[in-house]
Subunit: 227 residues, 2 copies
Amino acid sequence: MPVRAVAFDVFGTLVDWRSGVAEAFDASGLPGDPHELADDWRARYPRVLAEVNDGSRPWGNFDELHLATLDDLLSERSLELPPEARGRLVGAWHRLQPWPDVRSGLEELRRRRVVATLSNGHVALLVDLARHGDLRFDCLLSAELAHAYKPAPEVYRLAARLLAVEAGDLMLVAAHPWDLDGARRAGLRTAFVERPLEYGPGPPARADPQADESVSDLLALAGRLAG
Amino acid sequence: MPVRAVAFDVFGTLVDWRSGVAEAFDASGLPGDPHELADDWRARYPRVLAEVNDGSRPWGNFDELHLATLDDLLSERSLELPPEARGRLVGAWHRLQPWPDVRSGLEELRRRRVVATLSNGHVALLVDLARHGDLRFDCLLSAELAHAYKPAPEVYRLAARLLAVEAGDLMLVAAHPWDLDGARRAGLRTAFVERPLEYGPGPPARADPQADESVSDLLALAGRLAG
């Protein structure tokens, strides 16, 4: 059975959040290693999403959650930063660079099938990232439309419903096994894409042996799905 | 105050539904004037949308509503058509041609601002139309996301919220005064675009004296907003 539509995780899978956020920390004048600050900020993300999903935190989009976790990070480190500078750091998540294979890989995949995002980032953030990186999608889908965050199954199911395909005809592409696992539990097919530099040089390579496809980049995925 | 984002009505404003649907009627082998059949089918659209909005009809997407109104049309005319042929007629709404200025007009507008759809058509239908016409949007927004149809104010407000702009910073572009009127009541700005051939040659030209802009095509709109 051919895959009818492909949905992409965005942060880490399509865009390099660590370099862009570290640059913004560097420009902020805050003391400390900007990459370590970026990693700390990002590491706070799974917990707040889980809090939204379990109802202990009200719905907030990524700008709101990023600001809340930045406030926590700065407060724990006793760092001062005026509101405008905090806003610039939150804004850095809107201007991240895609990995080098992404623009052409999406174009190649779009020739044969529908290509969408399926990100926890909100729609307006995805619009900015797609414009910034000149990335062309057929449609931007976001957890915002479900008011629940991945890996909640309703997010993946909503994507299939909005694209008018069966869950099993939709493939989620991500660099994160937890996301692919959520997609599988919702009945989607899955492709793992290696992004060995997402957390900088050093961490051991991830893998997802359960994924239907495992590829090193999007051009490889296009080739695999064309075959 | 500059317009930050532009949202487009689609059927009639960006794509020529009448020619494409008439062609499909012609191919169906049904007796009668295919353009008259297309006009009759389209004329049934405001009433079913109003029924969804007032709660007397359950939510249905455009494929479902088009099938229901086609069934009515055929039954009133005592015309027979097998289910597969009815499905092909419903499918014709997924493969309509854009008006000649649309592709380049959208590209021009996208250089300076966010460009989205805001159609009563469902997301998957908009995906097919954008792919068929090679139309590039920053994002596809649909009444489907609000589970209410234009001119219900929540549809326009949802578009502003998802694009993260104030209603007054969002401009709806449409060839239909009823749609622009709904947008105005929700606080949006409006642009009327002339589509004198939407209903074929003959009907008197429409106009919307209350619109912020009135233009003959999208390139004119891009020039107006750039000024």
